[in-house]
């Protein structure tokens, strides 16, 4: 089988597993979407409830529901949200940009800050600042993300009202494209920093270890012997190789970022997929939740492929050989 084909098959198999597993998992939760809608209504008659269950096909056995669902997905039909009675794809496309902006901003912040801190402490492992960096990043890593978010909210949105409390834009409206972009950026700072706080520690430790590794290598000694400035040595020679584990990690962390986004979006009222996923669980809105999980899984897989490609960019020696090894491991 050609590598691309096998890759595609494992991709599809994995997605199917995601769909089936999640479908069954959410069925295990007590209650169903109708109980939630009736709850919001403040009660309803038996007839109304029965009619709604029949309309959603919830009166059929779970296996039949699953089969129907998979059949629909194969034709690209993700169905209607039980809660809003609106196509799930519409709901998701409405929310997707917000999550992408948030996740990308956090990756950017955590990789940049983490790497810089890592390099710094690799060069001065016993400096006061290095210890401070370690303490700070460990705190960020250990604290529950919603707590970090709340603290930042209290500090920078309430005590010192520098940043907005919630949402992605000012609902009162802004004039013009530039103002709108500034408004989004202003709203983005706290949630992005919160989400990044978990990963800064990770990347700084990783970059530090990997830089220490690389800095001891022969070719670095050669570079120094050639009389290159320390700067050139670090950023020109060492960093390229030192970054490989960091890039790997970014690819692997994609799934966790999505999980982190659920909490961060809820704390900051950020209108993304994470919050929609969380609310869909509470509403037992099966179609919406399943579609979000489906697309998240896809996003993670795509991120992994991009990681592989990035490898090859950073280090031409890594190519098919490495991929084969990784393929054998998974």
């Amino acid at each position: 089988m050609p590598p691309l084909m096998s890759r595609f098959l494992s991709f599809a198999g994995l997605l199917l597993a995601v769909v089936v597993l999640n479908f069954l998992l959410i069925q295990l939760a007590p209650g169903d979407p109708v109980s939630v809608i009736v709850g919001e209504m403040g009660g309803a008659s038996e007839e109304v409830i029965a009619a709604m269950r029949a309309e959603y096909g919830l009166d059929k056995p779970v296996v039949v529901q699953l089969a129907i669902y998979i059949g629909k997905i194969l034709t690209g039909n993700f169905g209607f949200s039980y809660y809003f009675r609106e196509p799930v794809l519409t709901l998701i496309l409405d929310r997707l940009p917000a999550t992408i902006i948030l996740v990308m901003a956090s990756v950017l912040i955590s990789v940049t800050l983490g790497t810089l801190m890592g390099i710094y402490s690799a060069r001065r492992p016993r400096g006061i600042l290095s210890h401070l960096v370690t303490i700070f990043s460990l705190a960020g890593y250990s604290a529950p993300v919603f707590w970090t978010g709340l603290m930042l909210l209290i500090l920078f949105a309430s005590t010192f009202p520098i940043f907005p409390v919630s949402g992605m834009t000012n609902v009162r409206g802004t004039d013009g494209v530039v103002a709108h972009m500034l408004d989004v950026a202003h709203h983005l700072v706290l949630p992005a920093v919160t989400l990044a706080s978990i990963y800064i520690a990770l990347y700084s430790r990783l970059a530090r270890a990997s830089m220490l590794d690389v800095l001891g290598a022969d070719y670095i000694r050669t570079a120094r012997a050639k009389g290159l400035s320390e700067r050139r040595v670090i950023y020109g020679h060492a960093l390229r190789n030192g970054l490989i584990p960091v890039v790997t990690m970014v690819g692997l962390q994609m799934g966790q970022l999505m999980a982190g986004a659920v909490l961060v979006e809820t704390v900051f009222n950020w209108p993304g997929l994470g919050r929609l996923a969380y609310e869909s669980i509470l509403r037992r809105d099966y179609p919406t939740l399943l579609a979000i999980l489906f697309f998240s899984a896809m996003l993670v897989m795509v991120a992994n492929i991009l990681t592989d490609l990035a490898y090859a960019r950073i280090d031409p020696r890594i190519g098919t050989r490495r991929r084969k090894r990784r393929g054998a491991k998974t």
């Binding site: 403040g42 038996e46 409390v165 809820t266 669980i281």
Partner: protein, 518 residues
């Protein structure tokens, strides 16, 4: 600075600096995400708050339970109580410019009867005639005093038939982008985020509404909303019920709170027993628990003094409520005595039995904190309380709906007339497994059934009140439910906001009077 109306100044400062404040905008903060905006097919405050701005209705109510003209300028009920005639105002139009006709009203009554979850509201309606464009004649199978309340904005939005008459109504896209004849027009709804409405320039009430824009911002939780309100990002936050939120906003700079209005909604917070499960099948056990609760502590300490006492099945602020019921004044000795009588003697370590308490998730004050209080309180009379939290609403609803509980805290709404929101809890023909907010206590008393059935069709107000008074007395005595308080529904608003909706429907009624002080 915020509400500069002076155009000269605005011109000086440049439009960008003043932004939207040159027009009258209201930012509403809420934690409710309405699943749709059409109150004809969806009840509950999340939908009602928006639906009543977009759709007008035949009648509206004042703060003293009196019906007022709205789309109907006058109405009369026949001698025998079997027909109600509505005379519509002239010149009312829907937001798409088409006139509001008697056919639209008839269509709306039929739609609500078919689709609204509160089936008792319009059940007696047999047919609706429209002799001309401005006359609607409603025929009833028996007298139905609750009908006029059912004509309120919260229950009977008048829908344009040419929009909602096409295909199955539940699937109509106009449920998420409604067209009505109310004070505000729908602009957009970004699901779970923002709902935008704008002034209906052709509203049939001359000079109203006062606001140009109403923007609902949906928050993920009350703490987040509280912060936004404290900072002045939000102008108005209706239906707050979390005591800590209310306390904080009560103290906040430039923010006021009010509990005025909303008596029609009548949210009663109670402790309900599974009366088919021992030992709660014994009236004396239920009464004992009633005597063991110190109402004064509960209302003033636990709920911070924001909730009102509630003594029976009909909200105390309703004209149909009676004070002539047992108040279960705090009395531990009496509670012990009743438990002894019921044969529940303490064992060696003083325990009579263990009671598992469920509570509806969502409110810390009336839920978890109350159960903790109950634990320490009932310990004194030899009852061990075991709390059983539910992670979310469907979990709790599944347990209680299927009678899988001992005792649960819950809040159930009156919705104006007992026929709409009270009967369901006590009528024995509404004991339906799997249906939350039916008679989940499985309480059954033929006398109560008889009284409620008679009161539902009694057109003489004094006689009707007497029937309900007797019903209240019996239910409080039987104690299938221990009545605790109302829910402390509170509105927080930015200073300078006037004309707040303080009628019996509170914020679930048109906001055409609301405006910013000059």
């Amino acid at each position: 600075m915020k509400f500069l109306r002076s155009t000269a100044l605005a011109a000086l400062l440049g439009a960008a600096a003043v932004g939207a404040s040159a027009e009258e905008t209201l930012i509403v903060g809420t934690v409710n995400t309405p699943s749709n905006l059409n109150g004809a097919i969806q009840s509950g405050i999340a939908t009602a708050m928006v639906s009543t701005q977009i759709f007008a209705s035949p009648l509206r109510y004042d703060a003293n339970w009196n019906p007022q003209p709205y789309l109907a300028e006058s109405w009369e009920t026949s001698e025998d109580g079997l027909t109600v005639t509505l005379h519509l105002v002239e010149g009312a139009t829907f937001h798409d410019g088409t006139p509001v006709t008697a056919e639209d009203v008839a269509f709306s009554i039929e739609t609500v009867k078919e689709n609204h979850p509160f089936t008792t509201m319009l059940a007696p309606v047999t047919s609706v005639d429209t002799p001309d464009d401005r006359t609607v004649v409603i025929h009833l199978s028996h007298p139905h005093p609750a009908l006029l309340l059912a004509m309120s904005p919260v229950f009977l939005p008048v829908l344009p038939e040419h929009i909602y008459g096409e295909g199955p109504i539940r699937e109509n896209p106009a449920n998420l982008a409604p067209i009505g004849s109310g004070p505000f027009k729908f602009v957009e709804y970004t699901k779970g985020e923002v709902i935008r409405l704008e002034k209906n320039e052709d509203f049939f009430l001359e000079g109203y509404p006062k606001l140009d824009k109403v923007i609902f911002q949906i928050f993920s939780d009350e703490p987040n909303l509280t912060l936004a309100m404290e900072r002045g990002d939000v102008d108005y936050a209706p239906f707050l019920s979390d005591v800590r939120t209310i306390q904080r906003l009560d103290k906040a700079e430039g923010v006021s709170i009010t509990t005025e209005g909303g008596d029609g909604i009548g949210p009663i917070n109670w402790l309900a027993f599974n009366t088919k499960r021992a030992p709660y099948d014994d009236k004396r056990v239920r009464q004992a628990i009633g005597y063991a609760i110190n109402k004064d502590f509960y209302l003033n300490r636990l709920l911070g003094g924001y909730a009102h006492d509630q003594t029976g099945p009909i909200i105390n602020s309703s004209p149909l409520s009676t004070d002539d019921v047992n108040h279960y004044d705090f009395d531990l000795a009496k509670a012990e005595e009743l438990l002894d009588e019921a044969g529940l003697v303490p064992d060696a370590d003083g325990t009579r039995f263990t009671m598992v308490v469920d509570y509806s998730p969502g409110s810390v004050d009336t839920g978890r904190n109350f159960v903790e209080y109950l634990r320490s309180q009932l310990r004194q009379i030899g009852i061990d309380v075991e709390a059983r939290p539910s992670p979310d609403f469907p979990t709790w609803a599944q347990r209680v709906g299927n009678w899988d509980f001992d005792v649960t805290q819950d809040a159930v709404f009156n919705w104006g007339d007992p026929v709409i929101g009270v009967n369901r809890t006590y009528m024995s023909d509404n004991i339906r497994k799997g249906v939350i907010w039916s008679n989940t206590q499985q309480y059954s008393n033929p006398k109560v059934d008889e009284l409620l059935t008679a009161a539902a069709t009694e057109t003489d107000p004094a006689k009707r009140a007497a029937l309900y008074a007797e019903f209240q007395k019996i239910v409080v005595e039987d104690a299938p439910v221990i009545f605790l308080s109302d829910l402390p529904y509170t509105e927080a608003y930015k200073d300078g906001l006037e004309g707040l909706p303080t009628t019996i429907w509170g914020p679930a009624a048109p906001w055409d009077q609301m405006h910013w002080a000059e």
